[in-house]
């Protein structure tokens, strides 16, 4: 199709929106409510262009044959500016400077907004959830969070309420987010351009614990943090910063720095054994992984029948296992009083914040910090992150395998479990460690493996919408891994925000790179794991392991 773009005749694809076409021709159009991963909503009216003399939103408009598009006439620029002025009128006063996830400054600069002629008039209360906090006074009604929750996660925990000027984002029936069927995945946070929705911060509590001389504050970092923390300090996506992270955390003043990868290895020992027990008994299948607290909440809210049918593995998540072992095994060994130990997890996740308060768990973890909070903590102590030397985790609970690292990406738990289950089941070693069928960023991945002559079919899904899709034919599989965030933990709700698909690809590459670089790549070969079982837990699935490392689930309301 031929159109006129800013006076130039060009050839364009009729199925692409004007925004796309402009981008292809090097014309940058400011956007706000538009996100590549979401359907256009055309609500903010910032991406206006002139189409045959009429103002239209470029994100939602397709070209017509021979049409004329003007992207920078005075009319366009004035209209964009006015809309941004109207949008920002309410936000500016509520917004404080300390707002890490603010990503519209570029857009504002481009628009050239000077001064706002309207007074702020909104006044809402904060919705202080256990994991996710909403501040409607900062909200600019772009609807990205609402669309993320509906389109990517299919949870529908939040939607708009009221109308006109009173329109605001609200959970079901204007309840607090903590009281509705929200899975606390935090994907909304990643998409919020103004920080009106963010994690419940626990930095203050952690700082207080660090100052308390009686407390031994132990930190443990999740597998994916090492692949994403660098981004918070201006490094390119996919930078692996394991050593710097450990040394920064030590500088902050933590007593020990442990590796959740070890918890992941133990999870695999327990989960692979549980799976083999099920194979021996002939069911119940599918067995579904339980490392992801977002998925657990989704199951409890929307698929509670799975609890009765025993599809869910009973394993706690890796950081909960490690937290528990820190307070039992490690405390015992070092002669410490468990009450004096404070365990802080650095997680890519907001749902983990909720998880650590679950009564079902008797959690061993006291506080959970997201990747963003961790970066804040490091910045708080004015540590020059980029120039730190590399250090190793504390060896007591800090030795891990490649199997533990891959937990950070979607498909990783399955891959690690299969490496161990295959060897436990057959007694032979796995010839190829990489399960390529379940790597990559596809929402749903499937594969199969033969263990003792039996075909084991497995599937992996990440992102709420994909989980719902895969659940429709779950009966085809024996073993399923679910992660609530697209891409797994590397795309978690606690990660650096506004990541693109390319960012996720790079983060995943870093994770698999870390796996390949490890000498030990199977969980059951981890010497510390072996030691813990020999000295403390006996064997996977033992009575003690059941008590400390396993949990149960409870049905929750659908609304």
């Amino acid at each position: 199709m031929k159109i006129k773009l800013d006076g130039k005749d060009i050839e364009c694809d009729a199925t692409k929106t004007l925004l796309h076409i402009c981008k292809e021709h090097g014309i940058n159009i400011p956007t706000l409510c538009y996100q590549e991963s979401l359907k256009p909503d055309a609500r903010c009216r910032v991406c206006l262009v002139e189409l045959n003399g009429k103002l239209v939103t470029s994100c939602s408009t397709l070209p017509s044959d021979g049409c004329s598009v003007i992207t920078s006439s005075e009319k366009v620029i004035k209209a964009r500016k006015m809309n941004v002025e109207l949008i920002m009128a309410g936000h500016v006063k509520a917004c404080n400077i300390d707002n890490v996830s603010h990503n519209i400054s570029g857009m504002l600069e481009e628009i050239g907004l000077q001064g706002i002629r309207f007074d702020p008039i909104r006044d809402y209360e904060q919705d202080l959830g256990s994991a996710v906090v909403r501040e409607d006074n900062k909200c600019i009604n772009c609807g990205r969070c609402v669309r993320t929750c509906a389109e990517i996660q299919e949870i529908y925990a939040i939607d708009f309420a009221s109308r006109g000027f009173n329109e605001h984002v609200a959970p079901y029936c204007e309840h607090n987010l903590a009281d509705v069927a929200c899975i606390k995945c935090g994907q909304c946070i990643l998409h919020c351009p103004v920080g009106a929705i963010h994690e419940r911060e626990h930095l203050f509590e952690v700082l207080r614990a660090l100052k308390d001389k009686r407390k031994k504050v132990i930190v443990q970092a999740a597998p994916s943090i090492r692949a994403t923390l660098g981004e918070e300090f201006g490094m390119p996506a996919g930078s692996l910063v394991t050593g710097k992270m450990v040394s920064a955390l030590r500088k902050v003043g933590f007593f020990k720095v442990f590796d959740v990868d070890l918890g992941a290895d133990i999870t695999i020992m327990e989960e692979a054994s549980e799976f083999l027990r099920r194979v021996g008994k002939g069911g119940p299948f599918p067995m579904i992984t339980t490392c992801c607290p977002g998925w657990i909440l989704m199951m409890e809210h929307f698929y509670p029948e799975m609890i009765k049918k025993d599809y869910m593995s009973t394993c706690k998540s890796p950081h909960e296992m490690l937290g528990m072992l820190t307070k039992t095994y490690f405390a015992q060994k070092e002669g410490l009083n468990p009450d004096d130990i404070v365990v802080v997890s650095i997680m890519p996740c907001t749902a983990k914040k909720f998880e650590s308060t679950r009564p079902e768990l008797e959690s061993g973890v006291d506080f959970v910090l997201t990747t963003r909070e961790c970066a804040k903590l490091i910045r708080h102590f004015k540590i020059d992150f980029a120039n730190l030397p590399d250090e190793d985790f504390d060896s007591a609970l800090g030795v891990s395998t490649g199997a533990g690292v891959v937990f950070g990406a979607s498909g990783g738990v399955m891959e690690a479990a299969l490496r161990t289950a295959y060897e436990f089941g057959t007694g032979n070693s796995v010839t190829k460690l990489e399960f390529d069928q379940i790597r990559g960023l596809d929402g749903i991945k499937t594969g199969s493996i033969i263990i003792n002559g039996k075909e084991v079919r497995f599937a992996v899904a990440s992102g709420g919408a994909n989980i719902r899709k895969l659940l429709k034919d779950k009966d085809k599989y024996h073993f399923i891994e679910f992660m609530a965030c697209p891409g797994g933990c590397i795309g978690g709700g606690g990660q650096p925000p506004h990541s693109t698909h390319e960012t996720l690809v790079k983060r995943a590459q870093a994770i698999y790179h870390a796996d390949a670089g490890k000498g030990l790549r199977k969980s059951h070969e981890n010497p510390v794991v072996k030691k813990i079982y020999a000295e403390f837990l006996d064997k996977p699935g033992s009575e003690k392991a059941e008590k400390l490392l396993h949990t149960y689930y409870q049905k929750k309301s659908e609304f």
């Binding site: 055309a42 609500r43 903010c44 009216r45 809309n83």
Partner: protein, 370 residues
Amino acid sequence: MQILKKTELAALKKAQELGAEKVIELLDKKGLVGRGGASFPTGKKWRFAFDAKADEKFVICNADEGEPGTFKDKFILENNPETLIEGILIASYVVGAKRAFIYLRGEYDYLKGNIEKVIKSVIKRSRLDVSVEIVVGAGSYVCGEETAIIKSIEGFRGQPYYKPPFPPVSGLWGKPTIINNVETLTCAAQAVLFDDWNSSLRLFSVSGCVDNPGVFELPVSVRLSKVLELAKPRGKLKALFFGCFGGCMPYVDMEMTPENVCGQDCVHGSCSVIVVDDSRSIVDLCYVIAKFFAYESCGKCTPCREGTVRVLFLMKKLKDMKATKEDLALLEELAHHIKNTSLCGLGQSATNHIITGLKHFREDFEERIL
């Protein structure tokens, strides 16, 4: 009145004899256009849905008549629902829909029982396998907008979304859907049956400073003086408002064709005329209308959500004689901005009253300036 002529299922029978394509051709020939305000040719709309390939199609009758000063659909729903239902059945037959909906304005809830009775009896006699369901709105003005109706029936928030795709291609639940106004569907049945059906006759809703308000059936090119003669205005005529969204103009005796009305920068719309005498100030009326739009904005797009309330604040200032020259300039800027950049018809016409008010009655505004 032509609109009250009953078709007694003969129209449906004739439509079935003619077949879908011929019915569409007939409507094209008779020149039936949408009576809800946009004046889109009905035959053309039906053809889009007829041509669309889908396993399921829907017909929606838009009875969400929320425009202040418009009450012609109510008149039909009260006095000739049989013909309306027949129109819906004809539309369903033509496009091949098995389910049809009447989206009834929340405030017309009291009509529901009677319409249901009529639906039952008409469907029973027609022996057509079509269900007609009544969905009662919850009192939102924007739900008269076709995409908002779709969202509302689907059970979502009644908010418009951007077009294309247009409903006849992808509408209710993503299926081809035709949405027609009550008057349009009633006329469709009559146009199919009666050879002498006159497409130029429209229903005028006249209200305001008149002694005889009501619905009048008149040719679309009727002179304004003739309309007022029937309605018997009180006092000295000052202005006419075409509903809330059509804008206002000083009284000029002209033919009421859409072109002439447009010439005054107003929107003809659904032929509603609110008569204003010279005891009123346009500013006060514009303030009331601004309040209406700020209240009825759905909140989706920025200019309408944020703009209409700012317009209201400025109008309040002006009304209370606290506004400055700059405020008036900002008001005018905002008014044009909202009109030019809003998503749906509501926002695009939410400031017509101010734009036309400033054009025709600027002195009313300026005398209020501080």
